[in-house]
Subunit: 660 residues, 2 copies
């Protein structure tokens, strides 16, 4: 009799080894961090004895699940902002909150919360990509989980680095520090081809190959990425990455939703492993990865939950079920990805994808003891059919729940017994997480309650204080005649003339103190009357102060301007205005000097909402009441003497009021 | 102070009423079967007192979930046969097993098992369609659940009826007996348009309107159904059903995967409620229902699990999550079906779809007390954001689990407290379900181990004992010369001549005692050499006995023949043969009288696998050794004297051996 540390006896043992051996009444012998033997219970009881013998009758003993793609600290953002379009979700919520809150303590706590959830749900191996990855590695190692920890590198500044060089240096130190750890495999994670320059991608691959560690990257999560790559590089994303030599590293590519046949072949040829994230891809409306074709072409496959902010949990039972279901539904082929293969994706194939197939992913003598024990007989999984081995895989995949997991062991160490966590303090995590949520709620509430803060959150804003003296009239004179007078008056010197159509969308808020946001599109018009160039800007006007003169008004405004580099739809969904208002006008504009003073003269024809209304505006910048007073006099002269407009045609309104 | 029976105090109350009122710290007062008041905890504590006060701090109080489409007894078939094509699954497994096992006791037990699972998962209202529905109603009522119970009617014989008239009579009695029950609403369930004649559909609608009960029907689950309806009726399915007046009844249409815009409009116009079954539709590869368009066009929507045989559980948390995810993924639009609306589909909208919106589906004074209490703070649902009411719906829909349900109440009665079922004996159910599973395993194992039984299971088989005397030669003579001799020999009278190409696929089994199955396709060839008509047959040959004569052999065969009305692919997946073998031949066949005795002469040219080999067969039916002996002599004469084939060219093999 050989003495071992632990003997798990009875229960159905799913080895998930290459022969898919399954013991209806099996046993597993464990010593130290490793499995010593797996087989029928009667065989093992003949050869092995242990102090700790666990009766697993009525249970399933199987390899722990492998979550091949996640961002652990993002559990702290769970359900913060859902059902939003990707750009609103990412740029409007995730990134501003991450900029504000992500620091080493946040990453450590988020990792602890994730580890608690993953252990409870039977995950024993994960692959993570985030910031401050050394903190994540430390927290996961303390929790006792096995993981591949990828430090993010990208061309933008990140919460943990101002530049990619800084990230890369951090990654090098991180790898050096962790490369011999029994549980953690450090890894390089260039965020995605579209967020990395060629130089960054090459540097990451070099670092990964230098230390022989895996490289993690997001690839083709969205259709947009495919289009952008083609437009920018004249290459498909996978081709570009392959050409840069990235796949010389052991690559794990997350998503791969929009790969075509050529790119699937490339992934297969280079031995790239794909981490399929069905929930996240559906939830963000990214699409459905071509898993059937990837299987047929022999691509290494694994399953991930992605971050909890787009899932919203880290439940690998849900994830492998959805993988199995979706592959069928998307192809109208119910034999694609049977339960057995989905379970392989979430166990041995997953471990192989993370390059840890030699250590874990199946129950085999010599491998590390990473295993879970499930209740085989909850009401939602009765009855049991024994005729066909596949019935057991069906039970686990199609009706198994995270809550069926009773015990979890990683590296020979119990992390959960009878649903009690042994390595993490849930009470403390709960309290600390609640504290963060309160802070984030306050941050967002202050921002939501304040349009300016929402604007600042998405970046690129420049403040501009402006003081302007201006007049607007609705003349009863013929427009062409007015223009002729302006152009030919001896006291007027034309500095510049412009013609454009201006499309303004105003976002108005219930609390008018909040000011208003205008999305402004200017289409410059050539001499033939055709649009030449388009410029979009966002302006935010908080509050107008007015001072009346005889014929004109002085406005002092606090105005913010930003390039509007996202579509109107983004701003609409992001600001969720109380009311929207459209004003479109055809504008002839002159910069003129009148008595040596610069004025702007606009001859506007309104197209929307009040078709064919005409207005003339005369404006000038100003800086003092005295200067304003002087210019008000000049404006009155221009109206009267230059343009021949009689008094009383002045209108006191702004264009936004047209649609009130 | 008003005295009530029960007060639930504290916790987040999601009313799901039309205003979507939500109380962060709310309370619910209950008397008898009904809700008396819902509101902020401080308000209710001022007005109400109760003996039973349940502290719900840290919990969510919400309406019970509505499973709008299921077949409860099918939980007993869970994981029996998965990952198969619809026809193999349905006709190869479900229907044979149902024919064998479905009886009142089976339905009662299956319902008990389903009710146990549904209560544990927070479902308080279901819509069922099955056989022996009175048994199902009784079991569900005993378990305390609310349900719409639909008795199945169709043109085929069912486990509970030989004919549709019998089903209809059963349904009438069932409705009369149950129509005033406080929990159960009886209903008519014509199975589907393709399994019902116009007459049946009309009779069902008439019965439903006579008693003002709902009508349940499967509509357009598969693309095939759409095609078949068009071919058979020259109408789209929904148009046909609408034209028949079915929608004059309160109709609940399950699936509606393949409805187009016209049909969606018809559903909306007639107030038909759709029960969406995303898991089942994916798992069977049926497709993805156009939920986004149905929402936009204002169709009443609800969510169902379908039967556990195609799900494989009755978990409404999974189902509403998948509904929310899939609607986004299928349209690449992440704002479709936000969590709030998915939760409405699974609560108030579901109750409205089942025509019980006046009684249940939301927490409102006057409605029945059908509610569930969830743990608000499991690790997989931390932390909580309070800024936006939608975060709570996100928590329930995107990360809620069946195992979060702590307490369940229906009609004012507790069905589960602290995850202990109060109305069902899980131990007994478990044991009895295991008993059924063993029997079904044995039934299937016996069948799987026996090809004949598998054939019988799919129906249509006719046994034929045949005794045949025959010879086969591979002549060295020119084929045309042989034919000319046959046609012009004075002792030979040609009765009939045929030309066809015969494509045989043999399914061979490891245990040759099992016999072999042949899928035979005959393409009759016209005089121009073109195929005219195709006939497919299935033959099963168990065992040949042979008796040798000088030149011929007598074969006695037990042969079974069935029309092969399903595609070759079906039989391939159904029989899972050890080996397959293809033989294709071009056959000229004559029925001839030689000396007044009927013989069949085949001149065969093999196309696959041995191209251009020629064989001649002469055969006759026989019934005795004496007759066989006489015919053996005539065969020898024909070979020698009519065809001029020298002795020694006889081959002793069957065509199936060609590809060995």
């Amino acid at each position: 009799m050989v003495q071992v540390d632990k003997l798990l006896v009875g229960g159905v043992v799913l080895t998930m080894n290459t022969k898919l051996e399954l013991y209806r009444s099996g046993a597993v012998a464990i010593s130290g961090d490793s499995i010593v033997a797996v087989g029928p219970v009667e065989d093992l009881l003949k050869d092995y004895q242990a102090d700790e013998v666990i009766d697993c009758t009525g249970k399933i003993i199987m390899p722990g699940l492998v979550n091949a793609h996640t961002h652990m600290p993002m559990t702290l953002l769970r359900a913060m902002a859902d059902d939003l379009r990707l750009d609103v979700w990412l740029m409007g919520y995730m990134m501003p909150v991450e900029r504000e809150f992500v620091n080493p303590a946040f990453c450590r706590l988020g990792t602890e919360l994730s580890c608690a959830e993953m252990i409870r749900g039977g995950t024993t191996l994960f692959a993570d990509m985030y910031y401050y990855e050394a903190e994540i590695a430390a927290a996961a190692a303390d929790a006792g989980l096995r993981g591949v920890c990828g430090q993010t590198v990208m061309k933008y500044s990140a919460p943990d680095a101002e530049s990619f060089e800084e990230s890369l240096a951090y990654t090098r130190r991180f790898i050096e520090e962790w490369k011999d750890h029994p549980l953690i495999v450090p890894s390089v994670a260039p965020h995605a081809p579209y967020t990395c320059t060629d130089e960054i991608l090459k540097a990451c691959a070099q670092l990964a190959t230098e230390f022989d560690v895996p490289l993690q990257i997001h690839i083709l999560e969205t259709r947009q990425e495919a289009e952008d790559s083609w437009n920018e590089y004249e290459k498909k994303v996978v081709n570009r990455v392959a050409d840069l030599g990235i796949f010389s590293a052991q690559t794990i590519a997350a998503h791969c939703v929009h790969v075509d046949t050529e790119q699937i072949r490339l992934l297969q040829q280079h031995g790239v492993a794909v981490a399929h994230n069905p929930t996240s891809n559906l939830k963000l409306g990214s699409g459905i990865a071509p898993i059937k074709e990837m299987i047929e072409r022999g691509v290494k496959l694994s399953i991930g939950t992605d971050g909890a902010a787009s899932n919203n949990d880290l439940d690998m039972f849900e994830e492998m079920r959805l993988a199995a279901l979706l592959a069928k539904g998307a192809t109208n082929d119910p034999v694609v990805l049977p339960a057995r293969d989905a379970l392989l994706m979430a166990t041995r194939w997953g471990a192989e994808a993370l390059r840890l197939g030699h250590l874990t992913g199946s129950l085999e003598a010599g491998k590390r003891a990473d295993l879970i024990i499930l209740d085989h007989a909850p009401v939602h999984n009765l009855p049991h059919f024994d005729r066909d081995q596949n019935s057991v895989y069906s039970q686990v995949v199609y009706a198994g729940h995270a809550s069926d997991v009773l015990h979890v062991m990683v590296n020979g160490r119990w992390l959960m017994r009878d649903r009690q966590l042994l390595t993490l303090d849930e009470g403390r995590i709960r309290v600390q997480a609640a504290g963060y949520a309160r802070q984030m709620d306050e941050f967002l509430a202050a921002r939501e309650g304040n349009v300016l803060n929402k604007l600042i959150a998405i970046g690129g804003l420049q403040q501009e204080e402006s003081f302007e003296i201006q007049v607007k009239v609705q003349p009863d004179t013929d427009q062409q005649a007015l223009i002729q007078r302006l152009l030919h008056h001896p006291a007027v010197e034309i500095v510049k003339s412009l013609h454009y159509r201006q499309y303004d969308t105003y976002f108005l808020f219930e609390d008018t103190q909040q000011g208003r946001v205008r999305y402004r599109e200017d289409d410059a018009i050539d001499e033939g009357g055709k649009p030449m160039a388009v410029r979009t800007r966002l302006t935010y006007t908080i509050h107008d102060k007015e001072r009346e003169f005889d014929e004109a008004v002085m406005l002092s405004r606090s105005q913010f301007i930003a390039p509007a580099d996202r579509p109107l739809r983004f701003y609409r969904e992001y600001f969720q205005a109380y009311r929207e208002c459209e004003v479109h006008k055809d504008r002839l504009r002159w910069h003129v000097l009148y008595k040596g003073v610069l004025f702007y003269v606009n001859v506007d024809q309104i197209m929307v909402p009040a078709a064919n209304h005409h207005y003339i505006e005369i404006k000038s910048r100003t800086w003092s009441a005295r200067d304003a007073e002087y210019k008000a006099v000049l404006i009155a002269e221009m109206l009267n003497e230059v343009l021949g407009i009689k008094p009383g045609q002045r209108v006191r309104m702004e264009y936004v009021e047209l649609c009130r």
